[in-house]
């Protein structure tokens, strides 16, 4: 049998040591009436056959589509060295670094990841990751609820990614937390309405930058207002664009979170992705998950350990800051290697190449009769346009021609059936943009 090395002789020798006759004797504790009622699994296959089967399945997905679909998840270039390095078994077949003497590779990598995240977002501390950007928002809210003691209200901007707001609704359904959604104003965060919603029961206000419509705003004043009312400011950001955008730290955010899929993770139909969480010094004790700290060994040599573990479920159980155990370790390593290979200049160029293409596309699209930008606020690599027809119809019409037009805003926002979100990255060619514009113009 594959992956079990026991020969018949060895098995017998081991059974003799144990003092039983057959392997089945080891399962005598499971009575007959608790045995499987059915176990109709297929016969196993050889590796060769298995790979052929999955090659066939994978072949049923189309990889030739030209896609302008983003909605918070983007196809950026992934340097080839990443797969090579994270493919080292020493990284990917290790467990959570509970024994620091034999886990310095993983621990130092997490420490460097925390450093990179803090430098990118200009925050004081970061954890070793959580599952994804949406779960990071939920965890950030729970941090604020704990820090805010008896405060139970979370004010969230409607232009925060609706995929994440749906997760937040699911996760908070059975707990004593009130989610107050403040409607957007034509694709922009309604700063006045957000401020007005922050009262003495509010634990935190949650915004996203760029928001779901791609618009970029400054939340400094909003966070000042939140602080004046003893509420925390939470911001969800896009790591690639963060290389040029005003940082959560500069805006005075208390907690910054991100989906870091854009840092070296393939789209892979939804995951695994990478939830990033960073916070101010004041909030560190509320931070969930693994955190690595630098220290010394008995000989005075620098080393790294999991620290502040008393917050975590394996010690604190029901009183832990979170239930998280496994996180996205290898994805965080990918992101760290990605940021290291690109460096500050490479990350900035990635942002700029993507912005350049998106703005070129926006200019071309708005030349089509009846197509206009949703608003005139600044944007980076994704933007919203209003079409003369239903966005779903436009998407359907171009799908057959091999183009994924974008995301229909009407899925998540009332009265926006004609609004389409379109995204570019550095991987789009100007030629593709030209063809796409002509095709879209042709159906409008």
């Amino acid at each position: 049998m594959p992956y079990t090395p026991h020969t018949a002789e060895e098995t017998q020798a081991m059974l003799d040591v144990i003092g039983v006759k057959t392997i089945e004797d080891l399962f005598a504790d499971i009575p007959a009436d608790m045995r499987p009622k059915s176990f109709d699994l297929p016969q196993g296959l050889s590796e060769m056959e298995t790979c052929a089967y999955f090659e066939k399945l994978a072949g049923k997905n189309n990889t030739d589509l030209v896609s302008f679909l983003g909605a918070g998840f983007y196809n950026h270039y992934i340097p080839k060295a990443i797969d090579n390095l994270v493919g080292r078994g020493e990284f990917y077949t290790a467990y959570t670094p509970y024994q620091p003497e034999s886990s310095q590779g993983t621990l130092q990598a997490i420490f460097e990841f925390q450093t990179a995240v803090c430098n990118l977002l200009e925050m004081d501390a970061a954890n070793a990751s959580v599952y994804d950007g949406g779960f990071a928002i939920f965890e950030a809210m729970m941090m604020a609820v704990r820090a805010g003691r008896k405060r139970k209200k979370i004010v969230i901007d409607e232009s925060v990614n609706p995929f994440y707001r749906e997760m937040v609704d699911t996760y908070t359904d059975n707990i004593d937390v009130d989610i107050v959604v403040v409607p957007h104003a034509d694709g922009l965060s309604n700063l006045d309405a957000l401020k007005a919603a922050i009262d003495s029961d509010c634990a935190a206000v949650v915004v996203q930058n760029p928001n779901f419509f791609g618009n970029v705003q400054d939340f400094t004043e909003l966070f000042e207002h939140a602080h004046a009312n003893k509420a925390a400011g939470i911001i969800s950001v896009y790591p690639v664009m963060q290389s040029v955008m005003k940082t959560p730290g500069e805006m005075g955010a208390d907690i910054a979170v991100a989906e870091a899929q854009s840092l070296g993770q393939p789209l892979s139909f939804g995951g695994p992705y990478l939830g990033v969480m960073a916070c101010t010094k004041k909030m560190i004790r509320q931070l969930p998950g693994r955190i690595v700290g630098r220290t010394e060994d008995v000989d005075g040599k620098t080393g790294y350990v999991l620290t502040l573990q008393a917050r975590e479920q394996h010690i604190r159980r029901a009183k832990a800051t979170s239930n998280i155990c496994s996180n996205q370790g290898l994805c965080a390593l990918r992101a760290l290697i990605h940021m290291s290979l690109l460096g500050p200049e490479g990350l900035i160029r990635t942002a700029e190449l993507s912005m350049e293409r998106a703005h070129y596309l926006a200019d071309r699209l708005t030349m089509i009769d009846g197509v206009e930008l949703l608003n005139d606020a600044p944007f980076c690599n994704e933007f919203a346009i209003r079409l003369p027809i239903n966005a779903e119809d436009a998407i359907e019409a171009l799908m057959d021609k091999g183009f994924v037009t974008g995301y229909p805003a009407g899925r998540a926002y009332e009265g926006m059936d004609n609004v389409l979100l379109v995204a570019c990255t550095e991987l789009h060619s100007f030629e593709q943009i030209g063809v796409f514009t002509e095709l879209l113009g042709g159906i409008l």
Partner: protein, 482 residues
Amino acid sequence: MKTLFAQSVPGRTACLPPKPEERAERFLPKELMRAKRPVLPEVSELDVVRHFTRLSTLNYSVDSNFYPLGSCTMKYNPKYTEYVASLPGYTTPHPALPQLPKGAQFTQGSLQTMYEAEEMLCELTGMEAFTSQPMAGANGELTGALLIAAYHKHKGNKKTKIICPDAAHGTNPASAVLAGYEVVNIESKDGIVDPEALEAVLDDSVAAVMMTCPNTLGLFESHLPTIVEKLRRVDALLYYDGANFNAIMGKMRIGDVGFDVVHLNVHKTLATPHGGGGPGAGPVGVSERLVPFLPTHRPAKAEDGTYYLDTDLPLSIGHVSPFYGSFAVMLKAYAYMVLLGGEGLTQATERAVLNANYMRKRLENHLYIPYNRICMHEFVASASKLQDECGVRALDLAKGLLEKGHHAPTIYFPLIVKECLMFEPTETESKETLDGFLDDLIDLIETAKKDPEALFSAPHNTPVRRLDETKAAREMVLTDEV
């Protein structure tokens, strides 16, 4: 080792994209831009490759060392699954694509993969339906608790408590609390759940009991039928923590014996790599009465044989991940199941249990084993007698094992056994490997009795020696300031 930040030289570059024609200032007003460039390593590609290659060599891993970490099922991770998950057909599709008009036709491969994987998990566990959305074991527990809450809410039941046995993983009570429940602990008797202790706290306010079987001591929960019967009386549900599922594949199905919800840790039982802490996947299976509440966008098969995402689920709890969970991880798990088949999976369980019992038997005369009878895939020993004799604790034995080139077992869990060491060898280790490890461990125990100092100061030959965790926690140096 110097961090990559400390190796940074301004102006040095590695994998640089082409130069843009426009800089960001053209698109963003100054007040929306950051004042300073981010401080990230400025290094060459060789610097990066050498740095991470060297870091990797500081780790113990399944690929390089025996890793009998109890409760973690550190089995060998077959390499072909990495190949399968890296096929461009799988890595390319955007997860929102099948949700768009006509989008599903371009992602039939991924949808079919998810559908088949969930079907196979159903047969493997005897559950009615599965969701692939939960992103790790603990996330599966939380999802399970939310499903339980949705079920009771729908029935109009007023439930406020979840019962966890004292031997449970810490994630169980933490997940129950995160889902809005009060946790009630019950004490074990003879290493397993005591039906009388359960009866004493069981009333109409109990939403569920979270169990694992075999439990964290590696013992089969023989009162299971009684427990199921008791729970039915108060309409409480039974949750199965799948962390120990490697012990029962082909021998018992979770659904057949009355569990209502289960999460599996595919990074344990189904051989996907742990990645130094993740990513995992925690698919959740449910019995018939919980099916209507499963997360939405469920992969489904139409009459014409095509696959689609079902959103016609009015009672669904919504989404626990933005799309369909850790797709690539579930893909590896499915590829593992396809290769092994029913017989291979059963044999994996048989040999995992064989290896655990062999280790237990060979150790019994050297280390105290509190529940010394036929165990399942893991067992717990205790260094408490050794500690009384010579002061050497479980921690010291663990460090001694590191020095000998083995990963340590899990120590100080479960909390109900003092100075415990929890061994889980898994099925992929050979008799020679087990013998080599056991010889070294027995040797350490003998050394401890004669020269405990040698263990107190271990390890000596690892990349670093014992680290000052108090200093780390008090000073909190969490980033590299250079």
